[in-house]
Assembly symmetry: C2
């Protein structure tokens, strides 16, 4: 056995879905870095939650010493309620605002009393097991974000995700360049960093740009101002409030998550609001138009969020009207472009002035662009890099970008990996040693408990490979087939062209029923499950597609 290595494993942070979670392991110590679900905005649209696959943590539970959170966004903290109970509630290390947001989440799941938080501030060094984790300040679109430098006998791993070099951020806490350059002196072995904006040239503009745009809007708008943004974008909410206060407007918050997050941030001192600025809906309704601003959810065109409901005049507290200025302070997440366009068109039809898009400068990304990504490599000079938090194409472009710097980067030390890749590192040593199986873990809509979510998820399933129905009529006394099976499809294969497939599917069902008629009584639920499994497997083998299978059993 050679010298011991540190292991790094992405469980949900690599690849096409941003449910960030990494394993850092050295000897008997495992640190879990972040604990996220896939986009909260996608969740709002009704897609299931996607969790990281924590099989590896379950198998090594005794080693797990802590979860460390980098910041409070859903894709970094949202899986806590699902993960903590499964791995015995290890202590959760985080900064104050991040703890505030996580606390709210755990309270909703009635798990707060079993959770142990350890609060730290950027700059603190954490002793956990045999490891020391240094922390440093990072600029992102939410305050209190940190980067981590994990010290092990095998060297230093730097975990720096969801960051940009913003020298004039809203909270006046820029990325700590001194800390990064100091780390460089200690020859870090590996950097784990996000690469989601690697397609963008130049530098991501400072948040300050948005504040300036807001000021211009507030200085000129004659009617109400409605600003839609991510509920988690506390800095953006701060900017809206700052402009409102500067130009003599009150602020109404709309949307449950917007109200929650803002309340937490305000209580903890991260959102600074003058007394009297925030108003409730009934007060807002009394104000002259030019004295009201609304900050709301729905920037992704989500049909159930505040903005779309205001636009459709379904929001009891406020209806968009002619003369309103609506600001979309966010970029559509890929896949949401059409729903965002629809909301914009609706708003224009109502007679609102809509301010949106890159050129309006009412939104900037929280992530580093090409020149920042290069600058970080030039500053930190890690021996190895693992780009993540992006699609496969982003990781490949990052690799190209790193190699193009003509430093020491090659395809061998810029790792483009899928979730479950077990990488071992030591000084001047880095290798993928294994690929453990990781799956998409979906949280069933029923658990989350929102009806509209289940319905929307079904639609998405239906839209993927269509639907196939199997209808059988069974004699309730004998359990024998009395009619059918009928097989019907929509959106799966063209029935007339696929007679053979339909016929073989019927045979699968007939055989299945023949093998099970000896049961004492007809158990419809049992047959339904059986038919689903058998037909699903048959169709996948034949077509590589997975339609929604709907068995219907009628008893006569």
């Amino acid at each position: 056995m050679t010298k011991q290595r540190m292991r790094v494993i992405p469980l949900g942070g690599a690849g096409e879905v941003g449910r960030n979670m990494w394993v850092f392991e050295y000897g008997d110590d495992i640190l879990v870095l972040d604990c996220g679900v896939m986009f909260p905005e996608a969740e709002m649209l009704g897609v299931d939650l996607v969790l990281p696959d924590i099989g590896y943590l379950r198998d090594n539970m005794s080693k797990v010493k802590a979860i460390i959170l980098s910041h409070g966004h859903e894709d970094h903290v949202g899986a806590l309620p699902y993960v903590l109970p499964d791995i015995g509630f290890p202590p959760v290390y985080a900064t104050k605002l991040t703890i505030g947001i996580a606390t709210n989440k755990l309270k909703e799941h009635r798990l707060l009393d079993r959770t142990k938080f350890v609060e730290f501030s950027a700059g603190d060094a954490l002793k956990i097991g045999n490891l020391t984790v240094e922390t440093f300040q990072v600029a992102h679109s939410i305050p209190d974000t940190v980067g981590l430098a994990i010290n092990s006998p095998a060297g230093i791993a730097v975990y720096l995700t969801d960051w940009k070099f913003d020298h004039t951020p809203v909270d006046r806490k820029p990325t700590d360049i001194a800390a990064i350059t100091a780390l460089a002196q200690r020859n870090p072995v590996v950097l784990i960093t996000d690469c989601v904006r690697v397609e963008a040239s130049g530098f991501t503009p400072s948040e300050k740009v948005v504040g300036d745009s807001f000021d211009t809007i507030f200085a000129t708008a004659l009617g109400r101002i409605i600003i839609a943004t991510f509920a988690s974008n506390i800095s953006r909410v701060q900017q809206a409030i700052d402009s409102a206060e500067a130009y003599g407007r009150k602020v109404m918050l709309a949307g449950r998550s917007m109200e929650n997050n803002s309340r937490i941030a305000q209580e903890l001192g991260y959102l600074k609001v003058k007394p009297g600025t925030l108003v409730r809906p009934n007060e807002a309704a009394q104000l002259p138009d030019d004295q009201l601003a609304v900050v709301c959810t729905g920037s992704q065109g989500e049909p159930m969020a505040a903005l779309a409901r205001m636009a459709n005049r379904e929001f009891t507290n406020l209806k968009v009207k002619q003369g309103d200025t609506v600001v979309l302070s966010a970029t559509p997440i890929p896949g949401n472009e059409v729903s965002v366009s629809r909301v914009i068109n609706n708003l224009f039809r109502i007679g609102a002035d809509v301010i949106y898009g890159n050129e309006a400068r009412v939104h900037v990304s929280g992530h580093a662009a090409q020149e920042e990504l290069k600058m970080l490599l030039a500053m930190l000079r890690p021996q190895h890099v693992i780009p993540f938090h992006g699609d496969f194409r982003h990781m490949m472009l990052y690799r190209k970008l790193a190699i193009g710097m003509h430093m020491h980067y090659t395809p061998e030390n810029v790792f483009v990996v899928d979730n479950g890749a077990v990488m071992e590192f030591g000084h001047n040593y880095g290798k993928i040693v294994e690929q453990i199986p990781v799956n998409y873990i979906y949280v069933d809509g029923t658990t989350v408990g929102d009806v509209s979510q289940i319905v929307v998820r079904d639609r998405q399933l239906l839209s993927r490979d269509g639907v196939l129905m199997v209808v059988v009529t069974i004699d309730r006394h004998t359990g024998e087939l009395a009619g059918g099976p009928e097989v019907l499809t929509r959106g799966f294969v063209h029935m007339r062209e696929s007679e053979e497939l339909i016929e073989s599917t019927k045979q699968v069902v007939v055989r299945l029923l023949q093998n099970n008629t000896s049961r004492a009584e007809v158990d419809a639920a049992f047959f339904i499950r059986k038919i689903k499994d058998a037909v699903g497997e048959h169709l996948f083998t034949q077509t590589r597609r997975r339609p929604v299978i709907l068995p219907v059993i009628t008893e006569i």
Copy 2:
């Protein structure tokens, strides 16, 4: 009765769907301007064709003197096979390439022998009825595009759509600025112009930029080069062929529409190819990688188009492999972003180098950006403007842009209208006088006859409001209900929460069957149609939603 006006009516060109068709009417003469369907690319993805509503033309058929086509893109010519037979085959005026493309289309529909084309060249003046139509050259992403100036006693209407001011286009035929400025001297009454790129600041770059990028790619790529673009983008295909010839590569065309359009353009002299440049698949397979370029369809991520099939290794003639350079020479049409991303990720996974996105400069739009739109107004100075070929938001932004020029534009003379708006114009007179009802006219997938299209369309239907199944077992002898009705839904409403709705739906079916059991024999098709209608109406009344309804009748 005052002085006679000219009438202008958009039948498919305004609003959110670009199936361009306009009516120009003066006295007893009607000219139909363009005859398009909604995006051919959307069609390829399996969405139904959307046609302009020609009810107005049918009602005034004797007045229709001609259809005049501006250029050969699907959204300007694709509806000819559906429209011509309905309005008695009026003569179709177009330039040579446009006629070539339309001819191919009409041949496929076996309508060519009944169609009368009148060919003209940019610069010609056409005498049609009592009207004179001047034509002038326009730069767009397909050669042989023209603008129209229609002279009537009520003044001049200018129809200038799908254009940009490209001073260095591929075919060296820029937009005829002399013609436009000359028209300005004659005080044109109204301009109809596209506004789809009004969100983009500055000038749309010249097509030349793309040629330069292609040259760089061809100069450096070591493996094969695969360029995906719109089949209708003849200029882009020319650029790929030019670069291939300059750098010693043969060219294989892939995708049915790519092959068709290129063949037509080549036959008519609009696509210039040296003898021996084009190769067939079997020849291509023999060539060294660095001597082959492929130009193909699939730039929108369409799963059935050449590029996606090459990426999925389902395309027998060519499979993408490590070392290939793939160029996406197109921008995703809104709604296609996710499928385009998927294809890019796949290509990267295979090991191809993928070149895409704005910053790679491998695509430029064929439409005018803000400065061009303003330049046109400054040059032509029309009394009134109708922006179209865009979403509602584009039309509103265009109005804002025009007003912002501080010329004579106001909300009253920049018309933002929906399809069916009847506008009357005369010197210094412009007014919406009526709104005629226009509908979305869908072409049923079965008519188009492409299996994969039907399947994809079903998925989209399913994804909209879900599916509801009604299962009934009927005694084949008596026609009476022997089991059920069972009602099952997915993606429509949450069943547990909607027991009442499900129950009432069952009652609808029961009543329906009771009323029809007197029929001599059980006619399943009859019941299916009856159930569809009755249940569909019931559900729409109750929920305002239209799920796909799937009745299943089992006889015992």
